[in-house]
Amino acid sequence: MSDFWAGLVQVGILLAALALVYRPFGDYLARVYTSERHWRAERALYRLFRVNPASEQRWSTYAASVLAFSFVSIVVLYLLQRLQPVLPWNFGRSAIEPGMAFNTAISFVTNTNWQSYSGEVAMGHFVQLAGLTVQNFLSAAVGMAVAVVLVRGFVRRGTDRLGNFWVDLTRGTVRVLLPISAVVAVVLVALGVVQSLRSGVTVSNPDGSRSTIALAPAASQEAIKELGTNGGGIFNANSAHPFENPNSWTNLLEIFLLLVIPVSMTRAFGTMVTNRKQGYTLLSVMGVLWGAMLAVAWWAETHPNGPAALLAGASMEGKEQRFGIGQSVLFATSTTGTSTGAVNSMHDSYSGLGGGVPLLNMLLGEVTPGGVGAGLYGILVLAIIAMFLAGLMVGRTPEYLGKKLGRREVTCAAVSMLAMPTVVLLGTGAALLMPGELDAALNNTGPHGLSEVLYAYASAGNNNGSAFAGLTVTSDWFQSSLGVAMLLGRFVPIIAVLCLAGSLAAQRKVPETSGTLPTTSPLFGSLLAGTVVLVAALTFIPALALGPIAEALA
């Protein structure tokens, strides 16, 4: 099969598989977060946690739980890395130095999984498993919990109670992430992904030389890395490494995994608000944007641009032969559209336009279809902004799903929406002004060098974690500024969204009238897609013009 057809077949199977699980899995997700019954295993966990699962929290208490849990997680993950030499299974690898440990701890707790270290060189198995794998699960469960709280805000009336964070966290982990990961991890092993407790194996090559091939418990981390839209590879080359992603079937499975929860969350949303068309509308906006991004990236990468690619004859630098161009751009579009950040090809070596797509995909705010949970609350925030804009046009107080969008609601939505661009643009600008930083950090010069820096802050601010990986980010400046960018990009929107949920839940339902704009119509879908694109365009076109656009036109 040619590269093009192989890619197209993979897109076809992917969409069919997603369509097949969309309804049952989406409805299951809704049941997970609405069911009154606790599993026996969950009750045992609650006893160990010493929390009362029946006690529901106000938005502020819920936020305090999220923040406390994330803070404790960061501290523990930091300590695990610093104490690596005294922990088991370290293979003589030394303590992670403070800047890198700070950055990595934040990175995994914020579901970013930005990696300034080289997996198989820096981290021993104990830190990988007890530290990084654990946060792969929990950071994903936190994102889903926050999304569910926002949906409860629309569903509930006249109450200040929004659910219990510990229950939502536990259910997301025990009922969704853990069982699927366990099954998928075994399937991945059957398809060739390694799950070894050794650090490596020495082989006698046919030419008489000897080499050491790195090994790791990859399959158990690979499954949750994709399912939880995390993206932190156990090997440096991430999903391009043949031990993480050995063939087209694992590639397909991994792309499916990273899309399945964000996509199905729209169904869970529709089910919870008892109007499934609401979910379809959001999904169609996400899907159209994802498809458009895929088409542009695919076209760009099959039309080499730049002297080295023209001389080589095809854009194969930083791509694997078994994936070719089609399956590489499919992965790149999906991983940056979902805040996953795993890569099966090196985005830094993409053409100007081809690399601009993953970058823009993040700058849209991670809603195509976004991270687990984060994608749903991201697009709901943008839906509120879209309704607010529509309300301004006709001079009417906007409503969404039967709730009035007053000053407080729109303020929360605006804060949530503006956090990311602020972090990305200020971070990039500051990095460019730091004396001496860029000379040491850049792997490429000219517009592509600017793209590397912009990509880094876009990835951190959006909790994506993919990189134009040529950029050297081990200086104290980059470690700390990207760490702060990840923190703000994660928790400012989360607090704003929880606050928004609180004020929505307190309201009574507004009856629908002839003046209500139906939010299941194509008109609303277009308005929402327009808002997503317009917000990103207005904010980022100047920066994009100097980076990827300049390169694409060169």
Partner: protein, 203 residues
């Protein structure tokens, strides 16, 4: 607020500890235990290929063989370039994976592609324009096990000449070790191919 955060942090620590045991120990070791099943263990440990009891490589990892003599006498099929290599066509380091992350506008990258094209053309005794893209570009992992059918075909004449096998025999071996896994891009497994060529020579 602070009191609430403190109270929540204590609960958070308990939750994190319990989940660390469940997700960081029980889950990965459980998957590891299942991966010890016959049929799975070989893959879980890296799909190693053994000859006479010693591991000679992994069928998933491409390590470029080195020939010390003149390039035109080289009997090996070669993998794609690796970003971790020192020279343009040197073998990479399979214990540290990664790509070059070079843009197509980078001057050193242009020079590197030009050098590789020249070296491969000289080795295969063909005009530089006949060298396919995957032969002159570094893979994403640095340990790409596969090459394109075009690059394998380009190397066939040299391998046949230097091993004494007929061109058709070598071509058959290439076809035997080309796979798409049903839905993928054709990829020729270099290690398996080199081993097959050798075992044809030494019965």
């Amino acid at each position: 607020m602070l009191k609430s955060l403190f109270h929540q942090s204590r609960a958070a620590l308990r939750v994190l500890l319990v989940f660390t045991v469940l997700l960081g120990v029980v889950y990965p070791l459980g998957v590891w235990a299942v991966s010890r099943l016959p049929g799975l263990e070989h893959r879980a440990e890296g799909s190693l290929i053994e000859r006479n009891g010693t591991a000679v490589g992994s069928s998933l990892i491409g390590i470029d063989p080195v020939f010390d003599g003149p390039p035109t006498r080289d009997p090996w099929f070669h993998t794609r370039p690796s970003a971790s290599a020192e020279g343009p066509l040197d073998p990479g380091d399979p214990s540290a994976s990664g790509g070059s992350n070079k843009s197509a506008f980078d001057d050193r990258q242009v020079e590197l592609v030009r050098q590789r094209r020249q070296l491969v053309a000289e080795r295969e005794n063909v005009p530089p324009s006949a060298v396919p893209a995957d032969a002159v570009t570094a893979s994403a992992s640095g340990v790409d096990p596969g090459i394109s059918e075009a690059y394998a075909e380009l190397q066939t004449a040299r391998v046949a000449r230097n091993t004494g096998l007929s061109g058709q025999r070598v071509r058959d071996l290439v076809a035997e070790h080309t796979s798409t896994h049903g839905i993928g891009v054709p990829s020729v497994n270099v290690l398996e191919l080199n081993l097959a060529v050798r075992s044809t020579l030494v019965p």
